[in-house]
C-alpha cells in the first residue's frame, strides 16, 4: 500500500472514530441538562400521570444505556428518529431548513475568504504605507458590529429607503409552483432575496481572513525567497502570487472552522431577514429539549468541521510540497 493510501485510510478511520465520539458526547450532554421535552407541558399545567405516560411512550423512562443503544442502532440503519415536539421525522423537519442555511452561508463564507485574502494581500504587501495602516480599518469596523445590527442597517438602507431589495424572506409569497424542490433556488426572485443576507454574512466575517492574510503576507514579504524573487526581476504580479501562496496556508486552516461556526452563528442574520434556515429552529429545539433534532443538527455541524479539516489537510500537500505525503 502506498503511503498516500495508508494516510487516507488512517485519517479516514480517525475521522469515523471522532464522529462517533461526537455523537456520544452530544447524546450524553443533552440528557444531562435538566428537564426534557415534557417540561414545558408541565408548566402549562399537564398532570403528572399524563407526562409520565408521554415519557414512557417516547422511551425516556428507560435507563440511559438502553436509550443510547436504540439511538445508535437506529442511526446505523439511517433512522434519525422523530421529533417529539413536532411529531414529524427529524429528517423531514431539518432537511430544507439546513439546506437553506447552507445555501446562504457556504457561498457567502467562501466569497468572504476569497475577498479577505485579496484585501490582506494588497494591504500587507504595502508595508508601512497608508493603505496598509488604514485599508483594514473599514473591514474591522464593519465586523465589530453585532450581526443583527448590521442586518438591520442593511434592511433599513437598501430595502426600506432605497427600495432595491425585499425586506425579508427567501421567496415572494404566492410565487409560481415549481415541480422540483431545487427549482425555486434558480429563480430571480430567490436571487433578489439573497443579496442582503449574503452581504450581511460577508460584512460580519470579512475581517477574519483579511487580518490573518495581512499578517501572514507581511511575514512572507520579509522572507529571503521573496527578496530573491524581487532581485531576479520578477514583475510585481508574479511576486504577489508567490507571496499569496505562502500566506494562504493559515487562512486555509481556519476556513472550514470558520464556515462551521458561521453555519451555527447566522441565527441572528436569519432571524432579521426571516430566512427559513435551521438557526432559529435549532434555538427552539434546544430550549424545548427536542433531543433527536438537536443531536442531529449539532452532529452535522461537527461532522462538517471534522471532514473539512481532513480535506484541508490533503489540500495543504497540494500547496506545500514539504508537507506532502509522498507516494
Amino acid at each position: 500500500m502506498s503511503s498516500m493510501k495508508r494516510y487516507v485510510v488512517v485519517r479516514g478511520l480517525q475521522t469515523i472514530f471522532t464522529l462517533w465520539l461526537v455523537l456520544t458526547a452530544l447524546f450524553v450532554m443533552f440528557r444531562s441538562m435538566p428537564g426534557d421535552f415534557t417540561s414545558q407541558m408541565a408548566v402549562a399545567g399537564a398532570s403528572e400521570e399524563a407526562l409520565a405516560a408521554l415519557r414512557a411512550q417516547w422511551g425516556l423512562d428507560e435507563p440511559l444505556y438502553v436509550q443510547y443503544w436504540r439511538y445508535i442502532t437506529n442511526l446505523a440503519q439511517g433512522n434519525l428518529g422523530e421529533s417529539p415536539v413536532y411529531r414529524v421525522p427529524v429528517w423531514e423537519f431539518v432537511k430544507m431548513r439546513m439546506f437553506n442555511t447552507f445555501i446562504l452561508v457556504a457561498p457567502a463564507m467562501t466569497f468572504t475568504y476569497l475577498l479577505g485574502a485579496l484585501i490582506g494581500t494588497i494591504t500587507g504587501s504595502k508595508r508601512g504605507s497608508r493603505l496598509e495602516k488604514l485599508g483594514i480599518i473599514p473591514v474591522i469596523g464593519v465586523g465589530s458590529f453585532p450581526a443583527f445590527f448590521l442586518s438591520i442597517v442593511l434592511v433599513v438602507v437598501f430595502a426600506s429607503w432605497l427600495n432595491l431589495f425585499p425586506t425579508s424572506g427567501m421567496l415572494s409569497a404566492g410565487g409560481t409552483e415549481l415541480e422540483t424542490w431545487w427549482g425555486p433556488y434558480l429563480t430571480a426572485d430567490f436571487g433578489i432575496h439573497y443579496v442582503l443576507p449574503f452581504t450581511a454574512v460577508v460584512c460580519r466575517y470579512l475581517f477574519i481572513p483579511s487580518l490573518i492574510m495581512r499578517t501572514s503576507v507581511v511575514e512572507v514579504m520579509g522572507q529571503d525567497h521573496t527578496e530573491y524573487h524581487r532581485l531576479t526581476g520578477l514583475p510585481i504580479g508574479n511576486r504577489l502570487r508567490h507571496v499569496a501562496k505562502h500566506a494562504s496556508l493559515p487562512v486555509l486552516t481556519i476556513y472550514p472552522v470558520s464556515l462551521a461556526r458561521a453555519l451555527g452563528g447566522v441565527v441572528l442574520i436569519e432571524t432579521v431577514f426571516n430566512w427559513p434556515g435551521i438557526g432559529y429552529a435549532l434555538v427552539e429545539a434546544v430550549l424545548g429539549r427536542d433531543y433527536p433534532v438537536v443531536q442531529f443538527v449539532f452532529f452535522v455541524v461537527a461532522a462538517f468541521v471534522i471532514i473539512s479539516n481532513f480535506l484541508v489537510d490533503l489540500l495543504y500537500g497540494v500547496i506545500d510540497p514539504r508537507i506532502r505525503v509522498e507516494d
Binding site: 522572507q223 529571503d224 525567497h225 527578496e227 530573491y228 524573487h229 524581487r230 532581485l231 531576479t232 526581476g233 520578477l234 514583475p235 508574479n238 508567490h242 501562496k245 505562502h246 500547496i319 506545500d320 510540497p321 514539504r322
Partner: protein
C-alpha cells in the same frame, strides 16, 4: 587596455527613514574588469550590499540613487526602468547569488520552475531550452541533472547553495554578484563553492563581484578589492597592493583584525566603536571617530579617493594622512601618535 565591464563613479545612495535621509553609500568609485574577481569588503551596514543591489536595480522601496553613475559595458544604467533592466541587464548580463541561499529558494517551487520563471521574464527561450541550460549548470556545480525538478527541501544546505549558483549562471551572465555567498556554510563547503566560482572564471571568463565581511576570503580569491567603511570607500586597488601596502587606517586595521595563519601568535587588532549612521550629506571622513590618527581636517571634509603608491594604477585611498598613517601604525601601533611622537621628541 579595454574598457572595464562595470564602472561605478561617485555613486551616492540614500534611504528615506523616519530619522531623515540616511546616506548608505557616498561618492563610491570602483570598476570591475572583464574576467576579474573583485571583492567588496566592510562591516555590516557599510553600504556594500546596497551598492551591489543598486547595480541590478534592486534597492528597497525607500532607497534611491542620489548621484553618480553606474556604467555597464560603457552604457549608463543607473536610470534604467524595471523594464529596461529586465530586457538588457538582469540575469542575462548581471546575476545575483544571495546571502542566505538556504532560504532564498522558494520552498513551494521546484528549482526548474524557478528557472523557467526567471527565463521567461528575461529571454524568449523555449521552456525546453531553459531546462537544458539549467541541466548544464547543474552539471557544472556538481548536481545530478535529473534533480532540477526537485523541491528545495529535498536538497541539503550545500546542494541548495549549488542550486542557487546554477540559477545565477544558467543564462550565462558576464558578471555575477555574490552577496556573502559562503557566510552560512562550514569551511569545507566554502572551499567547494570557491572551487566552482574559480572554475566558472576559467571556463566562462565570468567576472565576480564578491561582497563579504571576511577580508581573508578576498585576499585568497580576488584580484582586486575595495574596502568600505560607513558609506565611503576607504581604499581600493589590486589585492596585492592593498594587502602589502595599505594606506587607509581602516584598511590596515581591518586587515589586522583577522587572524593570519603565518603569524598565529599575533594579537588581533580591535577597532573601537561602531560605524556611524549618516543622516544627510556626509561632510567628514566616516572613520574619523574611530581613527587614532584623526586630525582636524578629517572632521571638516570628506577626503577624496586619491591614487596612492606607485605599485598599481587603481590603488587609491581616501585619507588625508595616507602617506604617514601606516608608518605610524607600524612604529607605534594603534595609539594616538602625536602624543607618542611628542614624548619621543621630548626624550631626544
Amino acid at each position: 587596455m579595454s574598457r572595464p565591464l562595470l564602472e561605478i563613479e561617485d555613486l551616492t545612495i540614500r534611504y528615506e527613514t523616519d530619522g531623515g535621509d540616511l546616506t548608505a553609500v557616498s561618492n563610491a568609485s570602483f570598476s570591475v574588469d572583464e574576467g576579474e574577481f573583485f571583492g567588496l569588503a566592510g562591516e555590516s551596514g557599510s553600504g556594500k550590499s546596497t551598492t551591489a543591489k543598486a547595480i541590478i536595480g534592486g534597492l528597497d522601496d525607500n532607497g534611491w540613487i542620489d548621484g553618480g553613475t553606474i556604467r555597464y559595458r560603457g552604457e549608463e544604467i543607473q536610470d534604467f526602468t524595471d523594464k529596461e533592466l529586465n530586457e538588457k541587464l538582469r540575469w542575462k548580463e548581471v546575476s545575483w547569488i544571495p546571502q542566505s541561499s538556504m532560504n532564498s529558494l522558494d520552498p513551494l517551487q521546484r528549482v526548474s520552475e524557478q528557472a523557467l520563471e526567471i527565463g521567461r521574464v528575461h529571454t524568449d527561450l523555449s521552456n525546453e531550452a531553459i531546462r537544458e541550460k539549467l541541466k548544464e549548470m547543474f552539471d557544472v556545480v556538481g548536481l545530478q541533472q535529473s534533480r532540477i525538478d526537485d523541491y528545495p527541501h529535498q536538497f541539503s544546505g550545500g546542494m541548495q547553495q549549488r542550486a542557487i549558483i546554477a540559477l545565477a549562471l544558467f543564462l550565462e551572465p558576464s558578471l555575477v554578484i555574490a552577496d556573502e555567498p559562503t557566510t552560512a556554510l562550514d569551511v569545507i563547503m566554502q572551499d567547494q563553492i570557491f572551487k566552482y566560482l574559480d572554475r566558472m572564471k576559467d571556463d566562462a571568463e565570468i567576472s565576480l563581484l564578491l561582497i563579504t565581511h571576511d577580508i581573508s576570503v578576498i585576499f585568497e580569491s580576488c584580484d582586486s578589492v575595495a574596502i568600505m567603511h560607513a558609506s565611503q570607500i576607504a581604499e581600493r586597488g589590486s589585492t596585492t597592493a592593498v594587502h602589502d601596502n595599505p594606506r587607509h587606517p581602516y584598511a590596515f586595521m581591518f586587515k589586522e583584525a583577522f587572524p593570519d595563519i603565518r603569524e598565529p601568535s599575533r594579537d588581533l587588532e580591535v577597532i573601537e566603536g561602531y560605524p556611524p549612521e549618516l543622516i544627510g550629506e556626509v561632510s567628514s571622513c566616516s572613520f574619523t571617530d574611530r581613527c587614532p590618527w584623526a586630525v582636524e581636517e578629517c572632521h571638516q571634509s570628506a577626503p577624496p579617493l586619491e591614487p596612492v603608491g606607485d605599485d598599481d594604477a587603481t590603488h587609491a585611498a581616501s585619507c588625508f594622512r595616507s602617506d604617514e598613517a601606516y608608518e605610524l601604525y607600524e612604529r607605534y601601533g594603534a595609539t594616538d601618535p602625536s602624543a607618542e611622537v611628542e614624548a619621543e621628541q621630548g626624550g631626544n
